[in-house]
């Protein structure tokens, strides 16, 4: 128990003193997971909406694949991304293994199915007649999609939060593709793992608390946007 208080104390101390190392890894966490979430929004929403609005045979199978994708284990994603990015691997010529970019790629692979799955459900639960109505009012197909997305704002922002929450807290992929390199690819989660194995439990707890604070502030902002104008 004393360790936990020690950790809380340490967390505040690290934050108040703007510890440069902690600031750097916190900023990198935010940067990597933020960019990954943004990219996964483009991928997840575009594919999610497309699948939700189209009718084709085998749709249920595709949807079940997407939903299974929400359960992708980060370690497995990390392993596959690593194998692709090895310098003797198929994408080795990029030379980006053990860089933050590799971490962004892995986290995008993890977050995209989450965003996709929730988008799919969000668009599908809108009433069918809404689409007809919008089209009848003379909207183009693209305009209709845009209105539908705005209509599903609430669950879509939930998708953003779920995606971001999924990647900011994962460690398996980040440590395999990023390598936890000091001052370069070390993020909050990988640093926590390392400090735990070094026996610095107070610092590990402190890093965990900082991670939660970061997640809280991001979600606070997103919730503000989400709840701004309650639908009538």
């Amino acid at each position: 128990m004393a360790l936990i208080f020690e950790g809380i104390k340490k967390a505040f101390w690290l934050l108040i003193t703007f510890d440069p190392e902690v600031m750097r890894i916190t900023f990198l966490s935010l940067q990597v997971s933020g960019i990954a979430t943004l990219i996964s929004l483009f991928i997840g929403i575009s594919i999610g909406v497309t699948v939700a609005l189209s009718r084709f045979t085998g749709k249920r199978i595709v949807v079940s694949f997407i939903n299974t994708g929400m359960a992708l284990p980060p370690v497995v994603v990390g392993l596959f991304v690593t194998i692709f990015l090895w310098r003797n691997g198929p994408l080795g010529f990029f030379g980006i293994l053990y860089t933050p970019v590799a971490m962004i790629i892995a986290q995008t692979v993890i977050a995209s199915p989450i965003v996709m799955g929730i988008t799919l459900a969000a668009i599908q639960q809108l009433p069918q007649k809404l689409r007809l109505q919008i089209l009848a009012l003379g909207a183009t197909r693209l305009q209709m999609v845009w209105i539908l997305i705005k209509e599903a704002k609430l669950p879509l922002l939930a998708a953003v939060m779920a995606g971001f929450g999924g990647v900011i807290s994962e460690v398996g992929a980040s440590i395999t593709v990023g390598g936890n390199i000091k001052g370069y690819s070390r993020v909050l989660t990988t640093a926590t793992v390392m400090e735990t194995s070094r026996g610095n439990f107070d610092i590990a707890i402190a890093l965990g608390i900082i991670l939660l604070l970061l997640a809280y502030f991001i979600n606070l902002i997103l919730t503000q946007i989400q709840q701004r104008e309650r639908p009538r």
Binding site: F42, F94, G95, L142, K182, S197, G199
Partner: protein
Amino acid sequence: MKKWVWTGFSIFFFLLLISSLCNAQKTILLSTTTSTQDSGLLDVLLPVFEKKTSYFVKTIAVGSGQAMAMGQKGEADVLLVHSPAAEKKFVAEGYGINRRIVMHNDFIIVGPPTDSAKIKGVKLASEAFKKIASTQALFLSRSDKSGTHTKEMDIWKAAGIKPDGEKWYQQTGLGMGQNLNVTSEKKGYTLTDRGTYLALKKNLGLDILVEGDAILLNIYHVIEVNPAKWPKVNATGAKAFADFMVSKETQEVIKTFGVEKFGSPLFFPDAGKKEEELGK
């Protein structure tokens, strides 16, 4: 909508491009065991090396087994490992060149203060292992092909015991630090390197029970990955790092590292010596 998608992708590939350009800088991929990182030794040595040579060292801290697997695939430039038998095979098969001795410390057998297997003060590690087996005291093995695990297997072999599948022999698959925590919680026995034990001691309920046997020597070598086998390897960088590790100044740093914090050094510099001369 579509515009967004395209902006997203172009930002993404822009980042890709930038990072691959950054990578054109001189980087060295160092694959090493967790003990060199967890003890903090590399945090002291790497900044000196990077300042001196302007290389950027990417350290991937894994078990010695995985480190050599990466070297075997050409996915590392230089290795700093402690698994002599596997290293010799690695070099003999042509994956590595210029294997040079860097330093040593030692392994110890730790266990609960109550010591139900009565191994405290036993001279031979294999003798202690025999006692653990005959009293069926709980033993926690890392079982991860790390240098420590390889050493543990050597000692079992010397004791003439096959512990696999025994009820008192549990395989955790964890790193050294975590394995020590599990051992402490379960009041079992385990083999550990002294550095990690000293670093974690304050949170552990484990005592040093056996030490000083010649078989418990823990020797670290630096090996350059063979560029003839893997042309993409940064051979000059690897050589520069290996030379740095055995240089006089670095060996001085190793000699005093940890004295301030633990009261005794964690590693003993050995550059230029022969493996057979150690532990005498």
